[in-house]
Symmetry: C2
Subunit: 394 residues, 2 copies
């Protein structure tokens, strides 16, 4: 428990927006002036913009402000400092190109934290943050296409253990409404620290990733359930705090309340071999804390930038070798470069070597690395895309 808490801390530090920056922002000879509005801008908003090299350009209207900064884009200097443009607005361009994919950010205007009014908001860092999208070379796999679409359904379920009505989102695949007798496997998919149940569908595009995989015949259609995992209230300075990290409140909601609700209200295949659990960052740690101890409930386990599964871990979980059909572990390549995969201070556990050891021991172990991305959603979009086709094949 102590080690996991430390590793959790690492993940929590790594999830900060600064992880968005390239580790060495080697500026190209010149910035190409082909900037276009980010695809996440609010309707009609021209800024922020991105160019073909991955630079981001910001424009904020605040004529009487003294200083405006963006929490993104400058390695080690805490962000992009905007300067006054001739028209009185504040403008600035990231010093180097940003990694492909989605980045959280916010503004500092005269010492206050605000969102960029040009962009949509996404829940991260325990607040709704601004988001920007750097077009990725592989963006096609999560693009909104003219294919049959599944649904993202908001459900509200009673939670006696927390004396509340709780929310989850449920992805049902295309065809779910038509095939009234068909039953589907279920993946329980968790967000990271500071995020919530909206993350995987909003910034993660989990529904579009599935729609496209299913349309291409690359994955078996299944249901995905996404709920809030910070049940123990892990806010900075909150009542429980990091030291009090306790998996039990969330585990109770998941195992005793949500899973029975989903099996009671959706056409699921409700046996162990048709249920998976995976999560990103803190959601991966939650998966590792819950799933190996409940192997009559889960057959597939996915840790996305959320720790590693060693042979020791496997041997400590009775029945793991027989009951777990897949152990999927993934990271962004920059996380591996940065050495952010083990607990600080302790002996570093190499997740790639751990995955190889599991395979060597005869387990179905898959290790996936997202190229040139860090502890961010492009890594997790790619991880889901890589993992989904491997689920529920037995």
């Amino acid at each position: 428990m102590r080690m996991l808490s430390a590793a959790l801390l690492t993940a929590m530090i790594a999830v900060s927006p600064l992880a968005a920056q390239t580790t060495a922002p080697a500026a190209p000879a010149s910035v190409v002036e082909d900037f276009k509005p980010s695809t996440l801008n609010q309707p009609g908003q021209a800024y922020p913009q991105v160019n073909s090299q991955g630079y981001a350009r910001f424009r904020i209207v605040a004529p009487d402000a003294k200083a405006v900064k963006v929490s993104l884009g400058l390695g080690g200097r805490g962000g992009t400092v905007l300067t006054k443009a001739p028209d009185g607005s504040w403008m600035g361009t990231s010093e180097g190109p940003l990694d492909e994919g989605f980045h959280y950010y916010h503004l500092t205007v005269d010492g206050g934290t605000f969102n960029d009014p040009g962009t949509l908001n996404f829940y991260g860092s325990t607040r709704w943050e601004s988001g920007i999208e750097i077009p990725a070379h592989d963006a096609d796999f999560y693009a909104l296409k003219d294919v049959p679409h599944g649904r993202v359904e908001q459900i509200l379920f009673a939670s006696p253990s927390t004396t509340s009505q709780r929310r989850a989102f449920v992805y049902t695949p295309p065809g779910y409404d038509r095939n009234a007798r068909e039953r589907y496997p279920v993946l329980y998919l968790q967000h990271g620290w500071g995020e919530d149940e909206t993350a995987w569908a909003n910034q993660g595009h989990a529904n579009l990733i599935m729609d496209n995989l299913i349309a291409a015949g690359k994955t078996r259609p299944f249901i995905i359930v996404m709920t809030y995992g910070m049940t123990n209230d892990l806010r900075p300075g909150g009542p429980s705090g990091l030291a009090a990290f306790d998996i039990r409140p969330f585990q109770t909601v998941l195992l005793n309340e949500l899973i029975p609700y989903v099996d009671g209200h959706f056409r699921t295949l409700s046996d162990q071999r048709h249920r998976a659990m995976a999560g990103l960052s803190m959601g991966g740690f939650e998966t590792k804390l819950i799933a190996p101890k409940h192997l009559d409930t889960f057959a597939y386990i996915g840790l996305l930038s959320g720790g590693t599964m060693s042979l020791e871990d496997v041997n400590a979980a009775p029945g793991y070798r027989d009951k777990v059909k897949l152990t999927f572990v993934s990271f962004g390549s920059r996380e591996l470069e940065g050495g952010r995969t083990g607990p600080p201070g302790g002996p570093r556990s190499d997740p790639r070597a751990n995955a190889a050891a599991l395979k060597q021991a005869g387990l179905n172990s898959v290790f996936f690395v997202s190229p040139d991305t860090g502890h961010e959603f492009q890594t997790w979009r790619r991880s889901l895309h890589a993992m989904a086709p491997l689920l529920f094949r037995d």
Copy 2:
């Protein structure tokens, strides 16, 4: 068409956040110091707060700012001007109590428009705005309770007419998943100008209103479909603009694309007498432009702060008397006081008298007034709550 455009303009003016203010903010003797965080605050945020009298108190951290203002709370003066508190934050309390219910607002920080980082955001005025909730005496009817809950399902449907994949939200009532043979009537429910398909479920609580009505046995369970109605791009300064208001793009999406998709993918009762159309403000005008001309499609018509239906209107629509089972018209009482119900400059058409004339002529006409509210969501929550039990009773 000219008259409708003018009336639309009236509705658009009235939808501005200033309509939130009491018309005469008669300050009580003293402000009661029982302020609590608004229920719409982001997790862990203490401000904004509201007190038992309906006053709102704001606190913004921006230590180096010169001026911070809130677009809410001061009759005729454009908002609440915040002042520097001893701790360096900016604080202020509305001059008078605000109307019960939901209000949009934003900040002006050193001349720039930003959202209050303390609150959740809601799409209105063609941007994501801050929201605050003044507890209403009748808040129970849209409270989240321990009753069976329906779902709010995001669907994506192909729209050849706009060459896009479009989004809608579909409320399915509790029991929809269990009663695999039951079919349900459908209400197509539109948002107002500057809002989008998220409005009715987010700030409107349409799903909770239905859950509670159904749990109390007060309404027949039915499906609600909510999609984006500003298909002709009515942004201020946008390419088409107000003068170019044209119902056809939206009408095509609704009639030729969305309704067939919903009837094809949900267990609907797809005949005329099981289909309703209603909308708030601009959505009411859209309803009035579309439904009376398509009486083989719709049997129930609802205009919520969105115009009036006169006997002339009825007589101009062949078949109206026979085919329309309910004409529901509602306003907030402050809208009627303000005389905001008719086209400016033209002869004022009294919606109450019009409703009475329809009733006199033998039509099922219901006129509903929300007490002490204006052109805002508390009026529309109450309107939906009053209208739902009257739908699909034939």
